[in-house]
Amino acid sequence: MKKLLSVLLAAVMMLSTFTACGGGSAETETESGEKVLFIGGSGPLTGDYATYGTSVKNGATLAMEEINAKGGTNGYTLKVVVEDDQADPQQAVQAYATLMDDGMDVSLGGTTSGACIAITEEVKKDGLLMLTPSGSQLECTQYDNCFRVCFEDSNQGLYAADFIKDNNVGTKVAILYEKSNDYSNGLKESFVAQSAVNGLEIVCEEAFTDQSNTDFSVQLQAVKNSGADLLFLPLYAQEAAYVITQAASMELNVTFFGCDGLDGILEKIGEENKALTNGVMLLTPFAADSATEPTASFTKAYTAKYGATPDQFAADAYDAVYAIVAAFEKAGVEPETEGFNEAMVKAMTEIEVVGTTGTMTWTPEGEPDKNATAVVIKDGAYVAFQ
């Protein structure tokens, strides 16, 4: 009897879960008479990488609110949803499926590269436009309808190596990178490759993994012994904050040099450690305290709304939403009609967007054409490099 009951219970549960899942059929565009352009994406909103996904969600939401406040686009109200994927390809695909059930028109892909690559496969089948804010691995734009806002990893390492060589920022270079992170690894590899080409001397290569990403005493000791005068940090701001504070307590005197991931370091390192960032250099398309528009007003609005300075991820997502809207206006085709996806993809290569991460146009391969600028941190503020 008890067994029968448990089986019955299980069957009811399974049935209810499935029908609950199956119940949410695609929403129509004209919900309560309002025409909606639905942009969906995913990112890690919980778990170890939650900070990246949350930034993307915040940035995209802010863009949506601004656009809707101005009356939407082409008579359409914007709807942006960023689902949680915990940086996991499996959950990213499930999040994507949920969004498709809800009637997504354009995808923001994934926040992290792995999740984003898994989504590209789905997007390829469905044909809709995908514009990832921050999927930086090469394969994130492997199909014709996939685009990105950020730089591709290998480009950044190359720019950085050339920049250091050309401007003579450092002569003996040490590298500290995260082996278990694709962004960090990709940047490091292209940096090393380009150094071999342009003759930049690398005296020390140190690594760490996500299993021990808080203690860098040994690596920094090795950097110190190598006599390097510049430490290249292809890292995200949080890890870099650990490195910079620990380097200070070890009395290591080098110039820190990073790429776009390093942006946000001023916020991450905290008020009391801010002095340590003096002289940190970064090559980034986005600088939160830039005085130029639209960056200045974006930073202001973002800080007011979320109580935090926007980072690279937030800026990329903000630009992604504006770019999609620009493409939508250019394409001039109604969502969910024949040829909408094709028109959107075509429009992506024709638009020019003045965003927070620079003025961008897109190549048919899905890469943004924009410039990174070098900035130096002086007294807790970004100053253009001279």
């Binding site: 919980t46 949350t54 760490f208 996500d210 808080t214 949080q238 916020e267 991450k268």
Partner: protein, 291 residues
């Protein structure tokens, strides 16, 4: 000289592991449960200290002390709600509940404090010590001293006081202890209170050493400390100390002389080897099998 400085940084890392492992091993020894949420109690303690110091503007030392109170409250509450009803349940159910508590604390911290890591105030400022070319960080010396003191006090407490005796009795044989008039529930609650207080201290020193605290900061040190506790023989207080210190030193020497990428694989490899030779850890009691 290099070797010495790596050794010393390993000692400093190891003393953090040891500090966390002390709480782990104590709860395990007496309540016979793997408190997977221990690492997250560390995070709770560190965040409490940040709130007291940065948001309420209390003096730093007072803030750190108050964070101990918060942690004890959280620890005891968790024990009452989640673990106590499972006192006679299979150990694995308790383990899963502890994992649930761990997820709960992490998500709650993320909802309250956001996803960004927060800078931890430097509540103790000690100048680095220079011996010849060697530089030893001030915080490392303090951490090591605190860890050793706690270990000694804890050992004395368990071996010399009435409460300690009760704890040992509960650890040895719960039913027999009950028959001798010891309140098992009370003893275990006190164990959790002490364990959480230790976690809070560990949290503050973790924050002091590494400067940043986030909602998920506790999980990796928690696992490492678990490894350290098993390494030294889980349930043994000197064992946790030894295991933690050795783990830190091995990790750093592996990073320095073998490979920074594979240092954790090496640490785990050494752990496996040690356990193969000594199946109950370095200082663990030998389990006698009874028929």
């Amino acid at each position: 000289m290099n070797f010495l400085s790596n050794l010393i940084s390993g000692l400093s890392l190891g003393s953090i592991y040891a500090l966390i492992a002390l709480g782990y091993t104590m709860v395990y020894g007496i309540a016979k449960m793997l408190n997977f949420a221990h690492g997250d109690i560390i995070m709770v303690g560190a965040f409490a200290a940040i709130v007291f110091i940065n948001n309420l503007g209390l003096p730093m030392i007072l803030g750190v002390l108050l964070s101990v109170v918060v942690c004890v409250a959280v620890g005891v509450l968790v024990e009452k709600i989640a673990y106590k009803p499972l006192r006679n349940a299979p150990p694995l159910s308790v383990l899963i509940t502890a994992i649930g508590v761990s997820y709960f604390l992490q998500s709650l911290a993320q909802l309250i404090f956001g996803t960004n890591q927060k800078a931890f105030p430097k509540f103790i400022q000690v100048a680095p010590v220079h011996i010849g070319e060697l530089t030893i960080k001030g915080e490392s010396i303090v951490t090591l001293a605190v860890t050793v003191t706690i270990m000694v006090v804890l050992t004395l407490f368990i071996n010399k006081t009435r409460m300690g005796k009760a704890m040992r009795a509960v650890s040895e044989d719960r039913q027999a202890a009950e028959l001798m008039g010891i309140s098992v529930n009370r003893t275990i609650t006190i164990t959790f209170a002490i364990g959480s207080a230790l976690a809070s201290v560990a949290g503050s020193f973790y924050g002091l050493t590494y400067s940043f605290i986030g909602p998920y900061t506790g999980s990796m040190p928690g696992i490492k400390a678990f490894v350290a506790a098993v390494f030294g023989g889980i349930g043994s207080i000197p064992g946790a100390m030894l295991g933690g210190i050795l783990l830190g030193i091995i990790e750093n020497l592996a990073k320095a002389y073998i490979s920074t990428e594979l240092s954790d694989a090496i640490v785990f490899g050494v752990l496996i080897l040690v356990l193969l030779v000594k199946p109950t850890g370095l200082l663990g009691k030998k389990i006698n099998e009874k028929v």
